[in-house]
């Protein structure tokens, strides 16, 4: 017989942890707060390890199922296993794991960002050919002005653009928008915290 214990247990754990941390802040219970935070850090590290194992299991399942992209799953599992064994055996400060990082992980991710730079440039150039309205024109205009003020063009610094216009765009207009976003995020964080503490929201499987 199956008892529905998952929802109430997870909800009670979430509520208990939240209320304990909040009460520790209010009453200055630094020891209790540090202990709970230590548990959270350990659980997070264990969660990361579980995530790696889940990823390996998913791709192993694809490899057994003979999926169309099973080759990529095979490469992922092999790479993961080799890196894990080498790092665990030799240590993270060894030259071998660092080689993997320097010559495999970092170039691949940097290449993706480089491709993204080309794609964004091309998409911005084609924007007005697909859509002509006020916001599209403003987007292209501000992108050009920001790039022109971010560095010298053909070795020449544009005095007004780089000294006045670009800082005004990045720090006033964009800063105003950023402040609005931050205020909204703060209000949302407070609301979400209160709802979780009052069990109005149960994002932990409740």
């Amino acid at each position: 017989m199956k008892f529905p214990v998952r929802a109430p247990v997870s909800t009670l754990v979430a509520l208990g942890g939240g209320w304990l941390i909040l009460l520790a802040y209010i009453f200055g219970l630094e020891g209790l707060r540090a202990t709970i935070l230590g548990w959270v850090v350990l659980v997070s590290a264990a969660g990361l390890l579980l995530g790696v194992l889940n990823l390996a299991a998913v791709h192993f399942g694809k490899l057994r199922g003979g999926a169309r992209n099973a080759l990529y799953s095979f490469l992922l599992i092999v790479s993961m296993f080799v890196t894990f064994v080498v790092t665990a055996w030799l240590g993270p400060e060894h030259a071998a794991p660092q080689w993997v990082f320097d010559y495999l992980l970092l170039p691949v991710e940097a290449s993706l960002v480089a491709v993204m730079a080309v794609t964004l440039t091309f998409a911005a150039a084609r924007l007005l050919s697909r859509r002509v309205d006020l916001f599209a024109i403003l987007f292209v205009a501000f992108a050009i002005l920001t790039l022109m003020g971010s560095g010298p063009l053909l070795g020449i610094n544009l005095p007004i653009v780089s000294d006045l216009l670009r800082p005004w765009l990045a720090q006033v207009l964009a800063g105003a928008g950023a402040r609005g976003i931050l205020i909204g995020v703060s209000l949302g964080t407070i609301t979400t915290g209160l709802r979780v503490l009052l069990a109005a929201d149960q994002p932990y499987g409740g």
């Binding site: 630094e30 707060r33 540090a34 935070l37 230590g38 959270v40 850090v41 350990l42 997070s44 590290a45 990361l48 993270p92 400060e93 794991p97 660092q98 993997v100 990082f101 320097d102 992980l105 970092l106 991710e109 940097a110 993706l112 960002v113 491709v115 730079a117 080309v118 794609t119 440039t121 091309f122 911005a124 150039a125 084609r126 924007l127 007005l128 050919s129 697909r130 002509v132 292209v140 050009i144 790039l147 022109m148 971010s150 560095g151 010298p152 063009l153 053909l154 070795g155 610094n157 780089s162 800082p167 990045a170 720090q171 964009a174 800063g175 928008g177 950023a178 976003i181 931050l182 995020v185």
Partner: protein
């Protein structure tokens, strides 16, 4: 006519038959039309002798009458004091219904048994009907009903109109006395022959006389004069009465009896035979309405439009007794046809073959037509399915289709015309990538310094960069700086280049570094950073002595909070010899974050920088002295707008900010030229190509889009 004129002397039943009963008496019409047959015709039979008081064919006084006279003490030729009903015929010749009359007149019945005149007439009718019972008289009048009724006989609103309705109504007013008698046809024929008019059945055999009278009512002007045969019959009756009752005063010959004159045709009955012109005029008078009070649509309708077609002028129908004319067939209206007796529809209407086919099996074997089969009713097989949908005509179906098309047009998504591309995207994209790679790679390969740094000589960098310069410049060899490397490897080129000058400045100042990361890749990221940016400039700056790699801090924001609370517990790192890293000379004095000389965060994510500000920055403020450990941020250019508000706050939550390659270039311009200077030319070339691409692409796209719109407008 030998009827008595003194009303006081008349018996009651005769008074009721006289003018006093005009209200219910038949309309005074010509004797051959308006009056019942048995009343209007020459009364050769005993049935009519009661009314006229004559017995034309009786030669001698009957015995019962003689007995009455003797009982009264009068002579046989003496006139009686009162009107004596006509002497009945011998019982073997007279109808049975006359027997009570004779009995009553002879005084054999008691006074209480004398019924009222109306009852008397009912009884007469009943007895006559009983005698006429199963004879073919009903068939005769039914055959007359079977004749179609011409439309001209229809009334204004479908009622019986004209003379016909008035006549049969007058017949009803006449009461039972107008009911036809079967035997009356015979004596009526005799009467007609005797007066030289011919028999009625010569005009229309089989038709009842009263119906013929109703259909062939002549115009009103023919009513007052008495026909000759009636006058002759009345004269003969008068002579007979005079012979029988010599003392009775007689009416002038040739005049209509007074009681008959009282039931002369009314004005309405006389108008029933008006012409078609009179009919139209009367109809227009009926619907004469003030059109000013009506709406226009109603005023446009003339009374003639609302009325049925007026009866056409037709020749007056000949009387059934008119020997010169033909007997017109009776017209039966539809409503009367529907009321025909069911008995007229019988097995005789079944097909001959159905009745003649004999049953072969079963209890009806050998019989034909007992239970006739009806193949049209008995159906074999599956019954037809009845359509449950709406029965729509063409117009309604057309409306439904139009409505469906309108709804479909509203909900349909209009395909947006895609502007044609001048060049294949793949080719343009590859060309753009090639140009960008060349623009960035060529300056790197040339290793020239073609472009000056952004800060001109003798000028100050931006304030946020200057703040970092000031903090780094204030470090001493005893200070330890906590460095967090929270950026992805993909953006390592930008962030490390921007931070290279800052770290170089700190190393120059002799500060020791404690490196860690909140990302799993942070451990390798730290070693990569030190190896690629500082090892060439500071080859003797060694790990484990000058800088420490504290590894990965898990938990995200919670890990940062734990770090702010207890850094030693958050980053428990053991050296190869087994000792704790926190036992090293550079970290031995560090128990809280504010014990570090400064915190430097290298990040490409604004959210990561926000977590540092929210979770760690408050713990950098000394609650006693109020001094704040500086929180410096080196970020990617894309995170600058979101981090700048923390720098602008008062007090500032970020004490210095270096953003992007441009910020690194500013920083190196004030210290020494390192990686930012090396990449500055390539950065400038790539930036120029990107701006040019955007300008050209925007110009081409805008012009082409406008051209397409103009063509579309022209085509429209």
């Amino acid at each position: 006519m030998g009827s008595a004129t003194n009303d006081n002397d008349l018996p009651d039943w005769l008074k009721e038959l006289g003018p006093s009963g005009a209200g219910e008496a038949p309309a005074p019409q010509p004797a051959d039309e308006g009056q019942p047959d048995w009343l209007s015709a020459e009364p050769p039979a005993a049935a009519d002798s009661g009314v006229f008081g004559v017995e034309p064919e009786e030669e001698a006084v009957p015995d019962w009458l003689a007995d009455i006279r003797q009982a009264e003490g009068r002579a046989p030729d003496e006139a009686p004091p009162v009107l004596v009903p006509p002497s009945p015929e011998p019982s073997e010749e007279s109808p049975g219904w006359l027997e009570p009359i004779r009995t009553r007149e002879s005084g054999s019945l008691p006074a209480e048994d004398l019924e009222a005149p109306g009852d008397f007439m009912d009884r007469i009718q009943g007895m006559k009907g009983g005698e006429a019972g199963e004879e073919d008289a009903s068939a005769d009048w039914l055959s007359g009903l079977g004749q179609p009724q011409p439309p001209a006989e229809s009334g204004l609103f479908g009622e019986e109109s004209g003379s016909l309705a008035a006549d049969w109504l007058s017949g009803l007013q006449g009461g039972p006395a107008r009911e036809p008698a079967a035997e009356s046809l015979d004596w009526l024929q005799d009467v007609g022959k005797s007066i030289g008019l011919g028999a009625p059945d010569e005009a229309q055999p089989g038709a009842p006389a009263w119906l013929g009278d109703a259909e062939d009512q002549p115009p009103a002007e023919a009513a007052p004069p008495v026909p000759d045969w009636a006058a002759q019959a009345a004269e003969q009756a008068g002579q007979a009465v005079a012979e029988e009752f010599p003392g009775l005063p007689g009416e002038p010959a040739g005049t209509v009896p007074s009681w008959l004159a009282d039931i002369a045709p009314t004005e309405g009955e006389s108008e029933s035979a008006t012409s078609a012109a009179d009919y139209k005029e009367a109809a227009s008078e009926v619907f004469k309405i003030d059109t000013g009070e009506l709406p226009d649509w109603l005023a446009q309708i003339s009374p003639e439009d609302a009325l049925p077609a007026p009866p056409e002028e037709e020749a007056p129908r000949p009387s059934p007794f008119d020997v010169a004319g033909e007997l017109a067939p009776a017209d039966l209206p539809d409503w009367l046809q529907a009321m025909r007796p069911v008995a007229t529809v019988g097995p005789t209407e079944l097909p001959e073959e159905d009745r003649s086919e004999a049953e072969r099996v079963g209890p009806l074997a050998g019989l034909a037509g007992v239970l006739p089969a009806e193949p049209e009713i008995v159906q074999f097989g599956r019954p037809p399915s009845m359509a449950a949908g709406l029965q729509l005509n063409e117009t309604q179906r057309g409306y439904a289709l139009r409505l469906g098309e309108m709804v479909a047009a509203e909900t349909a998504q209009q395909a947006r015309p895609r502007p044609p591309l001048a060049l294949p995207q793949r080719f343009v994209r590859a060309a753009l990538a090639l140009i960008l790679i060349l623009a960035v790679a060529v300056p790197q390969l040339l290793r020239g310094k073609y472009t000056s740094l952004p800060q001109a000589a003798g000028t100050r960098p931006p304030a946020e960069i200057q703040a970092v310069l000031d903090v780094a410049a204030g470090l001493t060899p005893e200070d330890t700086v906590l460095v967090a490397l929270d950026y992805q490897p993909g953006l390592a080129g930008e962030v490390e280049t921007a931070a290279a000058g800052v770290i170089d400045h700190m190393i120059i100042r002799g500060a020791r570094l404690a490196l860690f990361s909140t990302l799993p890749t942070g451990l390798g990221q730290a070693e990569h950073f030190m190896a690629t940016t500082q090892r060439a400039e500071h080859p003797d700056y060694l790990r484990g002595r000058d800088y420490y790699n504290l590894g990965y801090l898990s938990g995200g924001a919670a890990g940062l909070l734990q770090l702010a609370t207890d850094p030693r517990a958050a980053l428990p790192v053991a050296l190869p010899d087994g000792s704790s890293v926190w036992s090293q000379p550079a970290l031995a004095a560090i128990f809280r974050l504010r014990d570090f000389a400064a915190l430097l965060v290298l990040t490409d994510d604004p959210d990561s920088a926000r977590a540092w500000v929210e979770q760690v920055q408050p713990s950098l403020v000394d609650p006693i002295s109020g001094q704040t450990t500086p929180l410096l941020v080196v970020a990617s250019a894309q995170a600058e707008p979101l981090l700048y508000p923390y720098w602008q706050n008062e007090p500032a939550q970020i004490n210095g900010l270096v953003a992007g390659l441009r910020g690194g270039a500013f920083y190196e311009a004030n210290i020494r030229e390192l990686r930012a200077r090396r990449y500055w030319d390539a950065y400038s070339a790539g930036l120029t190509v990107a701006v040019a691409t955007l300008l050209v692409g925007a110009a081409l796209g805008l012009s082409r889009n406008l051209l397409v719109r103009r063509r579309a407008g022209g085509a429209a």
